[in-house]
Point group: C2
Chain length 295, copies 2
């Protein structure tokens, strides 16, 4: 195995289990796995970077909608802009009940843009926005122990993919800066892209299936022709991906001093992890550092 690694993890069961698994699949013997089959997939929000108090991408979309309403106040008469203008947090927090409005709002904002124009807007956001409680740029809210795990896997001939329920093209804009991963290593939900007069443009709507829940193993198969050898997640939408992997790692958010402590959206996952014996990394106990500001 290349690089003992994981210095930013505290010595404990999670670190031991990861290192032992990597050792076993890279060492000749019964557990050995050929390099071609070493695929690792990581959920993004809450697994590789902070997702509280709101998803990074939600902040980006809300800021975009706000600017749209400022230049066209008539938008405030309908959702999702109405909720934004009225600061209706209950409506905004319950996105699941308002998917058609949210999808239309995202299409209003970004359909018709070239991917490059969209990327420029995303980069402007990252250059300007700061995390509301940590008060650092969003490019600095990734978890140092998880980035270190990406490097350990790469050093052992794994090909690493981000597998995000959030927007593929949003993450791609900063994946090299934040994670040292290339754009082709990002799998995620996405707007359809079309070729018009020789030019790629974002089309309205969202491609199905979303890269969430049962959609994650489907996206991973489409992109890699494999099921993951190792997968990591932190929310209920990661269960199917984790169940499809040989080694499943769950990030548990239990550190209200250095990050956030919460179980909402993860209760089914934590039950599954206990039942199936998945490896659980406690941010409080297993992460020696959480953020390191290196990004």
């Amino acid at each position: 195995m290349a690089e003992a690694g994981l210095a930013s993890w505290r010595d404990g069961d999670a670190r031991h289990a990861i290192l032992e698994f990597v050792r076993s699949v890279t060492t000749p013997g019964p557990g050995f796995v050929p390099e071609a089959e070493r695929i690792a997939t990581f959920d993004n929000d809450g697994t590789l970077w902070c997702e509280k108090p709101l998803y990074v991408q939600a902040d980006f979309v809300l800021r975009t909608w706000k600017a749209m309403v400022e230049s066209d106040p008539t938008l405030a008469e309908r959702q999702p802009y109405k909720a934004l203008v009225e600061n209706d947090m209950a409506w905004l927090a319950d996105i699941v009940s308002h998917v058609p409005d949210v999808v239309r709002g995202v299409s209003d904002a970004f359909a018709g843009l070239t991917p490059h124009a969209f990327e420029a807007q995303v980069l402007d956001f990252f250059a300007e926005a700061r995390h509301p409680t940590l008060d650092v740029p969003y490019t600095s809210v990734s978890y140092a122990p998880m980035r270190e795990l990406l490097r350990l896997l790469e050093a052992n001939a794994f090909r690493v993919f981000i597998c995000s329920a959030g927007g593929r093209d949003f993450v791609r804009a900063v994946c090299e800066q934040v994670y040292g991963l290339r754009r082709e290593q990002v799998i995620g939900s996405s707007a359809p892209v079309e070729l018009r007069d020789g030019q790629l443009v974002r089309a309205p709507g969202i491609e199905q299936p979303l890269d969430d829940g049962a959609g994650k193993p489907v996206h991973i198969w489409a992109r890699t022709g494999r099921q993951p050898l190792l997968a990591a997640g932190n929310a209920d939408g990661d269960i199917e991906m984790l169940a499809s992997a040989r080694f499943a790692l769950v990030v548990r958010h239990d550190d209200d001093l250095r990050e956030f402590a919460y179980t909402e959206g993860a209760r089914r996952l934590l039950d599954e992890a206990a039942t199936r014996g998945w490896t659980v990394a406690s941010m409080r106990d297993d992460f020696a550092t959480v953020f390191d500001g290196s990004a």
Copy 2:
């Protein structure tokens, strides 16, 4: 630039143009391109391996249909099985007019299979079938100069992708053996895949857009977040992909002694190549060897 390479190419304009392009993008100076942006995409049928007298995958599908009719003769009453039983080459050759029948035939044959069961059928085919005129296994009909070009690009930090109008999962079954490429490096048309009871299975139908024509840049964007720096093709369905690349390479089939000489399906492409000054590799003049039996 790593590796002068291309020893199986004859010295000439095509070889010079390729080597000069690779040198320019890898050498500090005005043409330099960062490694992250070095994406190369290759059509498969007719660009990386022989597509005459019929597509390799067509041979696979026809054999599968034949076996299905043998075990259920009532199938012969309807298309596409009827054409097969009656040896109706006119019907079979005009697939474009019979897309619904062909898609239904493919779904009849493979929908409901796990990807692993499908792969096993493909591997059985490759173990048994031989090219009808070259009389070698289909795994031996890839073009040695093009495989050498894949290696040259990899040695210069390009990430190489196959971008096939044909079936992604068909090519993936042999991409490592034939091309030394991993499954995640294959982009192509595909059946939908679904998760049923925790198990991936092929669903009926074909995902849109096909990885052909305007669909190629769309697939490449979805998979890589890039447009290709270098692309290679041989047929009209490759025009949009080649137009999206900085360097476009066209394989011209003009060697009826060592392979096949034909322009059908490539006339628009050859016109575009002349108009746009794309690099054209003549199989007769530029390939020192065509096949080498190494696969």
